[in-house]
Structure formats: C-alpha cells, structure tokens
Amino acid sequence: MPEASTEARPEPKRQLPLLEPETAFFWTGGANGQLLIQQCAACGTYQHPPLPRCRACHSADVAPVAVSGRGRIATYTVNREAWLPGLKVPFVYAAVELEEQSQLYVFANILGLVEAVRIGLAVTVTFEQHEDVWLPMFEIHDDR
C-alpha cells in the first residue's frame, strides 16, 4: 500500500445549511439561477436573513423576490487557517452589499484570485450546487 500523504487528503465536505421553512428559498433559488431575497410588499424593504415579518414596518407580507445578484464587497477576509484536515486555503469570505439596498448584506465566498479581492469591488452572484443546496458565491464583476 502506498504511504498516505497529507497532500492527497480529500477536501472536507462543506457543512450545508438545513433547509428550513423560512430559509429554504434562499438556499435553493440557485436551481433557477436566481438569488432570492426576502422583500416586504408593504414598505419595499429587503431583509436578509429572512424573518417571519418585516423588521422595518412589522408587516407579515414578506416574500422572496429575485434580485439582480450584483453588489459590492463591503468587507472580506482571506482565511488562511485550515480549520479542518484537508481544508483548502486560502479562501475569501466576504460580506457583499447587494445593489438593491444599502447595508443589505449576503455572506459568501468570493471566487477567483485571492489577491484581487478589495473592499468596494463590484461582484456578481454565481451558484455552487451541493446536494439539494445552491450556495451563492460571488465573482469579481468584469465590465469589459
């Protein structure tokens, strides 16, 4: 038997979100290529994470709507610590402020070159399917 090598260790599986009544739409919208964010029909406010009522006006008339999937990097971190055996580092974890509303944040990884990431960069959503979950990820937006 060949010797086990630490380099060859398989990447650990991502721990996926439990699909719950309030959040399932967010985690499965990617099946149709859509980033779904909860919006209040009464006052128009978007909110994320989703909640049973609108935090702004307390209306129960809240529902998922497809947003543009565009935003900017509000802040980020380059994770360098392998928290789990085999975890591929570095990777970027960021708060993306969606263009639909100020301080409407979605948390995700930023794909592509780690060195390219800066606060303020425009990003666009993409999805990564794992089992029955479509994790939103963001790519640095290229205008050209």
């Binding site: 721990q15 979100p17 380059v78 360098r80 610590e81 928290w83 948390f107």
Partner: protein, 397 residues
C-alpha cells in the same frame, strides 16, 4: 445631575475571587467554581449562608465543549447556600448580563447579596475533542441551522472569520495597520508578565506579533484569545449591606447595555463599529463622570479588534482613532494615560470570558494589583462582549 435613579447606584461590589488558571486544570469545573466563589465570599467577610442570591452567565450548557459546565443550582448546592433568588443569563448583554440581572435583583429588594460567577473548562474539553471551531466535531458534516448557516457552509468556521470582517473594514476605512492592532496583544502580554495567574507570561514583541501566522486577514494568531480552565466570582451587595464588610465597597457608578444582530447574521452599519456604541451612550448618561475621569480600563479582547471597537464605543477614543491611540503601547501601558487590560486580558491571561475583566477592575480599585497596580486608580471602565454588549463604570470613594 443624574442622581440615584438608576438601579446600579444601589449596588456595590464587595468581594471577588478567581480560581487557578489551567490549560488544562486538573481540578473539576465544580471545584474551580467553589474555589472562586469561596474566595469572593470570604474576602467580604461573609459565609455562603449570608448570600441570598446567585446567578451565572450563561447557565449550565448542555454541550461538551466546556463553555459553561456549571450552573447556578449546582454551585448553590456545592456551596451550601440557601438563596432566595437564583438566575442565569443565557440571553442578554453577553457576559455582564448576569451582573446586570443581579443589580436588578438587589435594587428591587429581592435579596441583599448576589454571587455572580462564570466557569469555563474549554481547555479540558479541547483535549478530549480536538475541536476548535463552530463545528461540534471536525470531519462529521451534518446540516447547520440557525445563525451558523451564514458562515459555516462557506468554510468560515471560526468566530475569527467574522471579527476579521470587522477588522478589515476598520483597517480600510481608517487606514489602521497591523502594527497598530498588534499593540493590543503586545500590551496584554506585558501586563500578563506581572500577573501570576495569567496563562501566557513570556514576553511578546511587536516583531513576534508581525511574524506570527495569519489566521484570517488581517487577524493573526496573537489577535485571538486563548481557551483555559478557570472560574471567577464577583459578589454584589446592596449599598446598605456593603458598609460593614471587610473590603471598601466598589460603587457601580453606571452601567450600559445593548444587543445587536451579529450572532444572527444581521449586521448594522459598515462593519467599523459595534452596537456596543449604544451601551457606551447609556453608561455615560447614568453618571456625571466623563471618559476623562477613567484611570484604568478593562476592555473585552476575545479578539484584539474588539478592544479597538469597544474603546470607541466607550468614548475613550473618538471613532476611527483607537488604532492610533494604542500604537506603540505607551498610552495603554502602566504609567500611560489609560492603562489597558492590566491582567493581560483574555489574550494573555486567558479566556475567563468577560469575568476576568471585572475581576481585574476590582483588584485595581482595591489596590491589590501587585506589580501591575495602577497608582491611585479610583475609576475603572469595564466592557464585555462581541455579540451582546455590557459595560460598567466602577469607582471607589
């Protein structure tokens, strides 16, 4: 004048105690708790039967991670107490939530003395599970729910990742640097070298800090606190009952509290300040003292960036100025204008989880700081929390 309208004006700190610190400790969680509690009670010249209230943060936790292995009931039984009031503060203003509840219990006449304790045995637990993250057990994926679903699926498994988001935004907005942030860790270690009950006492230079490995940019190893086994107890008494006790009463001049959504994926603002700002506002609205009157500060340092954000929330620095204030360490060292985290804080004394800060504040105000005593310290600010926020302004006569 703010007068005596606020509950905390009725309450004093009359005793404090801390167990040994271990990594790991050979003592059980309950033994560490009893050690800390008995020290606090006897320091006041009382016995457990005199104490008619007990509470803790957060209350006994079912997990096996040593986060909160002892609840109020077990401590009560082990101490042979017969309290009329008993509580725990799972939710609330973080670590100080239990202290705030105790203040309310005393001010409302429910009891005269409340013992507040906090026990952690995360070092013992770590040896058993080898886990250091938000995942219960490494390598055993199950579905994540609640607040952690916004971070864990993206492999942002540690709280370090979330506070790194704050640090990066703060660096970017205000031009703060790693050298400035590093002053928090270097200061903590210098203080810890003068604290016999600190877990890390070997000197640390800024070069050591800059050479340490990056965990999650811009946070390095020494920006993160360290898990320990230990217990702290604080005894609170009605001011009328405090007079005849052994130690000079420490007055709770003011307290402040706030809650935000950090633990639930809801973030206010642009990641350069905490909802703790509201706790600071409340605290200063309860007193005629001003930030200039603070002689020494014990400010939460679960991660070093939290100390910068809290210094601003407590109005000890203006927004965006904390990093420049701590740079080089002179202003926050012994003999500086604001000696900071004189026990070594959680970064170097160990994660007593908030309670180490209040304990150290008491030692300083009783003149029991030994080699690290801030001369003439009469007013001490205490701030705790990263998800919920509590603050105290303590003073002696």
């Amino acid at each position: 004048m703010t007068g005596n309208a606020h509950a905390e004006k009725q309450v004093c700190i009359t005793g404090a105690g801390q167990s040994e610190v271990g990594r790991p400790s050979s003592k059980s969680a309950l033994q560490l708790t009893v050690d800390a509690c008995m020290t606090a009670i006897t320091a006041a010249g009382l016995t457990p039967r005199d104490i008619d209230g007990i509470t803790t943060f957060p209350g006994r936790s079912g997990d096996t991670g040593g986060f909160s292995p002892v609840g109020s009931t077990e401590a009560m039984l082990a101490l042979g107490m017969e309290p009329t009031w008993i509580g725990a503060s799972t939710e609330g203003h973080a670590h100080l939530g239990a202290v705030i509840s105790a203040v309310q219990a005393i001010a409302s006449g429910m009891c005269r003395h409340v013992l507040v304790f906090r026990t952690v045995t995360q070092a013992q637990a770590r040896l058993r599970s080898r886990s250091s993250t938000l995942l219960g057990k490494a390598g055993q994926p199950s579905r994540v729910e609640g607040a952690n679903q916004w971070s864990v699926p993206f492999n942002a498994i540690s709280p370090t990742n979330m506070y790194a988001l704050y640090a990066q935004a703060y660096f970017d907005k205000y031009g703060a640097t790693s050298q400035q942030l590093g002053a928090i860790a270097v200061n903590a270690r210098a203080m810890a070298s003068k604290n016999p009950n600190a877990i890390y006492r070997k000197p640390l230079t800024l070069d050591d800090y800059m050479a340490s490995r990056v965990i999650s940019t811009p946070l390095r190893l020494y920006d993160c606190d360290t898990h320990i086994d230990g217990s702290t107890a604080i005894l609170l008494s009605h001011r009328d009952a405090a007079r005849d006790l052994k130690l000079p009463p420490i007055h709770i001049e003011a307290m402040g509290m706030a809650i935000g959504g950090l633990g639930y994926g809801l973030h206010e603002g642009d990641f350069t300040s905490l909802p703790a700002t509201r706790a600071g506002d409340m605290l200063w609205s309860h007193t005629d003292l001003t930030p200039k009157d603070v002689d020494v500060a014990q400010i939460y340092d679960g991660f070093s960036i939290l100390t910068l954000l809290w210094l601003e929330a407590m109005q000890l620095c203006r927004p965006g100025e904390a990093a420049a204030f701590v740079e080089g360490g002179a202003r926050i060292g012994l003999g500086g204008e604001l000696p900071l985290n004189t026990s070594g804080g959680q970064l170097s004394a160990g994660r007593f989880h908030g309670y180490g800060h209040t304990y150290e504040a008491c030692l300083q105000l009783w003149g029991q700081g030994g080699e690290r005593q801030v001369e003439g310290a009469k007013v001490c600010a205490v701030a705790n929390g990263g998800y919920g926020y509590g603050a105290l302004l303590l003073r002696t006569d």
